[in-house]
Amino acid sequence: MNPVAGGAFALATVGKVVLFFTVLMLAVMLATIFERKVCGFMQDRSGPNRVGPWGLLQVIADGIKNLLKEETMPEQAVRPFFLLAPVLAILPATILFAVIPFASPLPTPWGLVEMIVADVPIGFLYVLAIGSIGVYGVAMGGWASGSKYSLLGGLRGSAQMVSYEVALALSLVPLILLTGDVRAPEIVSMQQTFTAGPATYATWFVFPLLVGLFFFFVSGLAETNRLPFDLPEAEAELITGYHTEYSAMKFSMFMIGEFAHVITVAALVTVFFLGGWDIPFWQGDNIRVLSDGTVIGEPTWWKTLLTLGAFGLKTSLLVLVFVWIRWTLPRFRYDQLMDLGWKFMLEAVTVYILVIAFVILGIEAVGIPAGGWYAFVLFLVNLALAGALFFAMDRGTLIRGGAKGARSAGGDAAQGQGG
């Protein structure tokens, strides 16, 4: 079966865009209630439980409330930019999803439909490009509000996001070294097992690139402005930072943007490091569309559904980790945040890239072909690196902390990051 082409392709793409946008917005809705429920559980309280069964309709009530509330316009605000900022906050987070493959290809009577909205050749460079403009929503919202709190929040936000973008981009370099391709579907295929076609690694990249996953996740956390990196909206100092002056639906759009960003980062981690839509220990879902249109594997509709479920499950688990971290780690001080970004992450990622590059050079000099053993050697190297990294970051806080007694409360940036 060939991939769809021509008019069917255009129709399928429009269908995917509509469907996917709806699903993403629903997921954002569910993520808000999910977060509040998990927060409630962690703090030993019920969370929202009044509207609908288990409080599930709370999101709808909130949505209606936000639609009906009064839109305020601060006197000092710069009107066009004040209105533009929420749009700029929500837009990048949603269109980022276009390059994420979310299920195995679906066979239809008109041809094979790949379950990705746009399989652009620049792959995750698109992710970096669109991710890098996400900062405009924060910066502009802060500046255009004409309030000191907002301005400080916007300043913090733009400095933080620019700083961690560097580490975010660099943490993906080992991934390119391994895959040799930047397209997301190809990265997913590389983590599956194939007997035909170009060689793959037969394992999720969480193993051969464990440390890379850590760096990507931490910088992704910083990019989404969530705890412990939520300095732009630190409520104890800045009311709510860059969106202090926003009310009703405009405020809601900032929130939707933030949750969409969380889901997007979770989905990216899934695709890059957790095998995408791959179902572990089952070879039936190994379906690959090569660039010349040849299809390896047997796509069926139920496999599409199953892999979609696997993708959703992995992404939701990662969203859970986001919420979990929120109530586990305290917020950084601003200088700690900057120190971590520029004085630790940047150097550590660069060293990591160098090590991985030399290891790959060594592996290829020895002559191990791409595949399970290749990944295993890299896994051992990563395990050693991860051990050294976490031990260095921990600095006797957790591992030997109990024996020596607690350290003074004023630790530094790396300390909170140890977990």
Binding site: L128, S132, Y136, M140, W143, L155
Partner: protein, 175 residues
Amino acid sequence: MIQDFLFQAFAASAILGAVIMVTRRNPVSAVIFLVGVFFATSGMFLMLDAHYIAAINVILYGGAIMVLFLFVLMLLNLGHADWRDLRGPVGGLVGGSISIAFLGVLTRLFVGGADARPVVEIAGGALREAAAEQGVVGVVARPLFQEYVIVLEVTGVLLLVAIVGTILLARGERT
């Protein structure tokens, strides 16, 4: 047809954004419209099959350099003038003369004979074929790291020296 339409849309928004950008007095509006121009030019790069350049254009200029500009403007808290504010006559005169000079260069390029054209010409679709063969990143990376590796490294060292020099100058005399 759709290609023509897209090109004209990108070109028109690039020119429009550039004109609006140079005529603003408020620096923040200028920055925002310049970002718009970068997006439009990225669109045109995409249509020329230069996917990598398009992405890098947005990542570096749209996402990093312009954000730094915006950051500095916000830090100094500049630009609370009304956003419709146009530049004064002096700015208009300088900007206008630069635009006319540049228009002259472009006109010579299009109207002038063969000797006015750039020397390098790439066959249509050559970039697309190369990209299909070695990926969009490979098309740029291979020449860069094989043929021109010395030049690349020297440029890198030069940039590093420039950065260190800037920091040294910016810190000034420390006693």
